[in-house]
Point group: C2
Chain length 287, copies 2
DNA sequence: GTCCGTGATACCGCCCGGGTATCACAGGCC
DNA sequence: GGCCTGTGATACCCGGGCGGTATCACGGAC
């Protein structure tokens, strides 16, 4: 009575996201009528109207929005339980040993820090195996929540640390990465305003859920594309100082004087109780 | 395949907590055989051994402990989704309006602060109705996690703030509450060591999950019982300074010089997105 | 050896979740 | 108005799975 099956949550989240019973049904791999019925039962059991069926589409009520948010969180927690349990039992299909940590890092970030951390931890007496998984743009938090990762390197203010436990590791300034031939590359320092409004170097646009924000800049999907476009003199980018590790010969880095500092943290799910994780965190804070 | 019904989680958590299929079955209100079968199916589906059946009891494997922790979190998230959705729809049985915040406070704590907060918030233009629910000993965190509360006043270092978003509100010292007639009550200040080892005033023992820890002190279940025992000269207690609000005539408060300061925070679930909550937090930080 | 207590197995019945076919209704055409 | 289209809801059926009872297999206590 006061509990909800994950199946019902999956159904509702699908409908709430699609706002269309038919599309939600195909996404769930089922027919539409049972889905309609399931949602009705859900509403009856909760005693709450979740969807406003206005012939020609569906809209969420306030309670529906609440259930969408909370239900997503609950589903993430459930899939995290499955993933972590499988890993703990060594049955995640990778043939892994049972004592392994999955560390999520934004691809290409904090190269040097990561290297030092892994070396120092490997030397620790109780070191577990660490699997480094590159994460997409700022999805480390999601990976921690749904159990794909046990621990992550996160970069404030880009990643939100809210909901995780974390320790600060380092602070660094930011740099502009410019084509070496560009006039601005000769400068000793720059401001954010000076690099964001260069007519011949429009800022690149990253895909967000498969869609690109509007704007004049080139569309990119990964860092290599960005690096190439900079080298070709088509755009400019702003990165933490540690990005110097992957600069090309045609790139020039110029410090930004007024960009907010980037703070790298090591973060993990708040309720974690793993000894291997504690040991890794201890190693990291002592670097 | 990579998902788990809450029913299965409930079953496993019950077995893992009881370490006994029969007792777990009665707790779940079902017979033992289907429960055994369900756990076996769960192990098969996860591809992981969760329990070690050693004739004469059951023990958890490493993977089992992982699923117990993660599964509890997932179940809490699911019940939180139900509770918050019902409240958002005004169907929680209390006949409440849909815009209401539930604030958990440890009974008797931070009286004055709470009063000022409620008054200030009531004066805010966009104020929601605030329902104050007294929480048991340090269970505010649990109430936030399982959706019984939306926001809580928490007291570091007694409550753990890990996993929540929070703002610091005030810091206070701690006092010893003694029977007025006791020799120590005449002192201007005391140390923690001086009040914890008084032979004729053994520290009271609080029930923890219905069981009392061993020791010489009296067994108590709430603050009134404690206050009475102090007034009767049977025990001594240590509280934050704001406890002066509820002292009896027969009580004497003496500051403790070396007790860690108590920091009161307002805390809420990290993923919360409620405007009413944001407004309450803003009010609190401006007190 | 004989109980008792444990969890596992065998078998059965029924409920419920899902499928197909169809309806009810609102708009957009012509 | 007549017709088609697209929406979600309803009616009905079927099969799998969940839970129940009865029983087993095994080990310890006396």
């Amino acid at each position: 009575m006061d509990t909800l099956e994950t199946r019902e949550l999956r159904y509702f989240v699908a409908v709430a996201e699609e706002l269309h019973f038919g599309r939600a049904a195909v996404r769930l791999g089922m027919a539409q009528p049972p889905l309609s019925r399931a949602i009705q039962q859900l509403e009856r059991r909760l005693g709450v109207r979740l969807l406003e069926r206005d012939r020609r589409g569906v809209t969420l009520t306030g309670a529906g929005e609440m259930l969408l948010h909370e239900g997503r969180a609950a589903l993430e927690a459930a899939t995290a339980a499955v993933r972590r349990t499988r890993r703990a039992g060594g049955a995640d299909g990778t043939g892994a040993s049972r004592n392994r940590l999955v560390l999520a890092v934004k691809a290409g970030s904090s190269h040097e820090l990561l290297h030092k951390l892994l070396d120092a931890y490997a030397a620790a007496p109780d070191a577990a195996e660490v699997e480094v998984v590159p994460s997409g743009t700022c999805e480390q938090g999601e990976m921690l929540r749904d159990g794909r990762a046990d621990v992550a390197l996160m970069h404030a203010p880009f990643n939100s640390l809210v909901g995780f436990d974390s320790e600060e590791l380092m602070t660094e300034g930011q740099i502009a990465i410019l084509p070496s031939g560009h006039p601005l590359a000769a400068r000793g320092s720059l401001t954010v305003a000076e690099v964001t409004d260069v007519p011949d170097l429009p800022l690149a646009r990253w895909a967000r859920d498969g869609v690109y924000p509007p704007g004049p800049g080139p569309e990119i999907r990964d860092q290599t594309q960005l690096a190439q476009l900079i080298a070709l003199g088509r755009t400019v980018a702003v990165f933490p100082e540690s990005a110097r590790a992957w600069l090309w010969a045609e790139h020039t880095a110029v410090p930004l004087t007024d960009a907010p500092p980037v703070v790298t943290h090591i973060a993990w799910p708040a309720h974690s109780r793993s000894l291997a994780l504690a040991s890794l965190v201890r190693t990291a804070t002592r670097l």
